[in-house]
């Protein structure tokens, strides 16, 4: 790619003049004059058409929420990833772990956006949107499924208790790493998992976010 000219600066005037002829006509200059058009709407239309043809493996959008911007991503099967901070690295991770066909496709995220909005407004306690759990495997996936199933809004559980509920009482460290790598935070409520005795433990979106979510659900006083 070193031969390209990403700055679009005019290159070699002498080169161009040679092509344009010594009589000084400015054909080259005239050929450069094209109004730029906003292509965003065209891109959106093309991607919606591509989606109808089944070509969008991962669609995403960034949504502003009370806990900051969230990157929401979904496959045709469901919500596959929620990333804090609107971080572009989430898209790269999806490109390598799911498919490089990763494009902005707000329509695919309409349902999860609506449910999140209701959740943050205090009008929703469970998420009904389909999730695609392909980014978690093995025991981590088992633990995250148990969490979704067994720890409702406004309740908390310790890493140890969650290990016990999955029939694996010695696995509290593995439970911790399952929470730390939860691909779909908030919808899969890893913020409800604390240390034994009530210490907060960690959170991928930052402890402030964990505290915010627990207070929002009334699970943490003060």
């Amino acid at each position: 790619m070193n031969a390209t000219n990403p700055t679009n600066e005019p290159r070699g005037r002498s080169d161009r003049r040679g092509l344009d002829g010594a009589d000084g006509d400015d054909l080259g200059e005239r050929l450069r004059r094209v109004d730029t058009t906003d292509v965003a709407a065209l891109v959106d239309t093309a991607l919606r058409r591509a989606d109808v043809e089944g070509l969008v493996d991962v669609g995403w959008v960034v949504e502003d929420t009370p806990v900051g911007p969230l990157t929401l991503a979904a496959t045709p099967a469901g919500v596959v990833r929620i990333g804090f901070g609107g971080d572009e690295r989430v898209l790269e991770e999806l490109a390598s772990e799911v498919s490089p066909r990763v494009v902005r496709l707000p329509g695919r995220l309409d349902e999860v956006r609506r449910e999140l909005e209701e959740y943050f407004a205090g009008r929703r306690r469970t998420f009904d949107v389909p999730v695609d759990r392909r980014l978690s495997r093995g025991y981590r996936r088992t633990v995250l499924e148990a969490l979704s199933r067994e720890v409702p809004y406004g309740h908390t559980v310790s890493y140890q208790e969650l290990a016990e509920r999955t029939g694996n009482p010695k696995a509290s460290r593995a439970v911790g790493s399952a929470m730390a790598t939860n691909p779909i935070p908030i919808v899969v409520p890893c913020h409800r998992v604390l240390r034994t005795g009530g210490a907060l433990g960690g959170y991928g979106g930052g402890l402030d976010t964990k505290v915010w979510l627990l207070r929002h659900e009334g699970a943490l006083l003060g």
Binding site: D25, V34, T37, L47
Partner: protein, 155 residues
């Protein structure tokens, strides 16, 4: 081998891709071919074996769309009863209608080469890769295209 998210190609290259196609075939057809290019590219993207020149790859797809369109035009002559085809100048972001009409009468390879060279400022090596020729042949396409434009366009 990891390909970047397709979105990053769109962010980097969609505006130039659109300019290229609008310059090569006009506003209306350019918008259509742009969408077709995006869809075709997305379809074949996961099969790419390397990510060395994604811009060139996208423009190659666009160039082929221009060639295909030119072939379709030849196969489907305008019926005699129809009014003559008038370029849609109103909707056209190209300011120099006479010149761009002449550009669109060039053979597609010359057209593609001239547009890439002058509108997009691309080096000959890249133009050659996109139109599938040697660098010398790309230079020749640009030169021949300009020569023909100069004959057709008033100063």
């Amino acid at each position: 081998m990891t390909l970047p998210p397709f979105q990053s190609l769109l962010d980097a290259h969609a505006p130039d891709l659109h300019r290229f196609l609008v310059a090569a075939v006009g506003r209306h057809d350019g918008d259509d071919l742009f969408q077709e290019t995006v869809i075709s590219a997305l379809r074949s993207y996961p099969g790419l074996r390397h990510a060395d020149n994604l811009r060139g790859w996208l423009f190659t797809i666009a160039h082929r769309k221009v060639i295909d369109q030119a072939r379709r035009r030849v196969r489907q002559p305008v019926p005699a009863a129809d009014p003559p085809v008038v370029p849609q100048l109103d909707a056209d972001p190209l300011m120099d209608a006479e010149l761009w009409d002449a550009v669109r009468r060039l053979p597609p390879k010359q057209r593609s080469a001239v547009v890439q060279r002058y509108l997009l400022d691309r080096p000959y090596a890249e133009i050659a890769a996109v139109i599938g020729s040697s660098e010398d042949a790309a230079r020749q396409s640009v030169r021949a295209g300009l020569q023909r434009l100069r004959q057709e366009v008033t100063r």
